[in-house]
C-alpha cells in the first residue's frame, strides 16, 4: 500500500513526520514523504501521481484548519477512488476540545482524524480501517 505523508502549510515541525515515515515503512507501507511546508494541492497531486491509497497529513503548529478547509473542493476535482484521507497532530490552537475538532475535520472530508493522539494508536486505527474497507 502506498501512503503520501508530510506536514501541511507553513509548518516546520519535522520530528513527528520522520517517526511517521519510519513507522509506516516498518508496517510495510510504501511511503512518499513530501516533508514539511507542504501545501494541500501538492499533497493531492502527489496522491494522483503515485496512485496512493492513503494520504496522511500531520500538522503541529495549529494551522491545520486554515490549510485543510478546501479538502472537499480538491476531492471533487479528481476521482480519488478509494483513497483514505487521514490527519493528526495538534489540530487546534491550545487545548482544544477533541469532541469539537474531530467532527470539524471529518466535515472537511477526512476519514480519520487524530488530535493529540499517539502515533501508534493512530496507525493501528488506520490498518483496521483499511482492512474493514477491503
Amino acid at each position: 500500500m502506498k501512503v503520501v505523508i508530510g506536514v501541511v502549510g507553513n509548518d516546520v515541525h519535522v520530528v513527528a513526520n520522520r517517526l511517521i515515515d519510519i513507522s509506516l515503512e516498518e508496517r510495510g507501507f510504501e511511503v512518499f514523504n513530501l516533508g514539511v511546508n507542504t501545501y494541500l494541492e501538492e499533497f493531492m497531486d502527489a496522491v494522483i501521481e503515485t496512485d496512493a491509497d492513503v494520504l496522511l497529513i500531520s500538522s503541529l503548529n495549529g494551522e491545520a484548519e486554515g490549510w485543510c478547509r478546501d479538502l472537499r473542493i480538491l476531492k471533487s476535482q479528481y476521482d480519488f477512488k478509494n483513497v483514505t484521507f487521514m490527519i493528526g497532530g495538534n489540530l487546534g490552537v491550545g487545548e482544544m476540545d477533541p469532541q469539537l475538532l474531530v467532527p470539524k475535520f471529518e466535515a472537511y472530508g477526512f476519514d480519520l482524524v487524530f488530535h493529540q493522539i499517539d502515533l501508534n494508536v493512530g496507525l493501528d486505527r488506520l490498518e483496521a480501517f483499511l482492512e474493514a474497507r477491503a
Binding site: 512518499f32 513530501l34 511546508n37 494541492e41 501538492e42 493531492m44 497531486d45 502527489a46 494522483i48 501521481e49 503515485t50 496512485d51 476535482q77 479528481y78
Partner: protein, 391 residues
Amino acid sequence: MSRLFIDVGSTYFKVSQNDSIGQYFRDFNKNIFDDLSGRCGDILSQYTKEDVYICSSANGGLSTLIIGLTNSYSLKYAINIAFNSGINIIDTVLYPKIQRETPPLEMIDVVIIVGGIDGVERVFDERLLRYLEAAHYQNIVYVGSSSDRAFLEQNIENIVILENIISPKLKIQEEALKTYLTDLYQADIVGKEDIKQLYAITANQIFSTPYIVNRALPQVSNILDVADPFIVIDIGGATTDIHYSRDLVEDNIVSQSGYDRLVFKKLGVYKSRESLVHTAKSNEFVFELLEHLNVTENILEEQSEKATRILMQLSIFLVLYKVSKHHAAYIELNLETLNSIVLTGGITKVLSDEEAEEIILFFYKKILRFHRAPTIILDRAYEIWTYGIKE
C-alpha cells in the same frame, strides 16, 4: 589552438575569439551564412571547422505543448526541463481538464506528455487521443509512467518513449528529456535552410542560445563581478528570459543543475511590443512608475528612441514583478536575498547604467519596501554566452 565562438541572434551576430568580441548588425536581405561570411570571412578562414562553435536564437527556437497529470509534479517538472533546454512553451494542459481544452491552432514542434510514477496504470485514455487528433504537431514524446507506454505506442503514431521524468520517489529526473530536446533543437535547425548552411563552417553541434546561457551560469561569478545568489535577465527583441540560481526558490524540485530558466514570451520590446504595453497598462504600479520616470502614459504609444528605453525599463520592472511574491505565477523567487542582477541581451545596447539602476531601485523600494537594491551589472559586451559554449 584557439577557438572561434559565434552567436547568431535575431538582430546581431556576436563573434568571439581570443577574448575579444565583435558584434555585427545583421543584414536581413541576406541569408545568415552569406551575411556572416561577408562580414567575418577573414576571421572564419583562420579556423578549422573543429574549432568553430555556434549557438543561435535566430530561428526562434522550438515550441512545445505540455500535457501533464498534475501541476505540482508532471507539469512543473516538464516545464522546468523544457525551459532549461532552451525551448518555448506555447501552452500547458492539465490532463484531468483536457476535455475542456482546445488545442492551439499553430503548429507545435514537440508535444510532451507526462504523468504518474512508474507502475501507475491507465493514467491516459481516449480523451488524450481525441485531443491530439485536433492538434498540429511534428514530434511527440512520452515521459510518464512506464505502465502506459504500450497504450500510447499503439495509439499514437511516431511517439517517442523516454525514461520517466518523475522518479519512483517523486523527484525530477531530467537527463533523458533534456538530451532529447536539445538534440531535437539541432534537428530543427537542420530543417531550417538558413542555419543548416552554417554546418559548412562548423563541425560541432549548434545549440540554442538560451541553453548555452543557462550552461554558462555556474561560471559567471568567476568572470563578471557578481555575488551569489544572482539572476540574469536577458531582454531581447521577442522574449525576455530570466535565469536564476535555484537557491532563490523554495519548491519541491531537487535538480542537478543549480540554475533554472524562465521565459516571458510576451515581454519583448520589438516583436511583442503590443503585449508588453498591454501587460504594463494592466499593472497597478506602472502609472506611478511612469510618473517617477517623468513621462506620461502616452509614451507607450510612441515610436521614439525614448519610448524604447522606457519600454525596456518597464520590461525589467514587469519581469521582477512577475517573479516576486506579489504575483502567484509559476515560480516565486526570493528577491530579498538577491545580491546581483546581470542584464544582458539587446537591452544593454540601449539603457545606461543609471537607467537600469533607477528602475531596479524603484522596484525594490516600492514593491519590496527595501532601502537598497542588489548590484547591477550590464553585460555590455554580451559575453555571458561565450562561457557556456566554451564548456
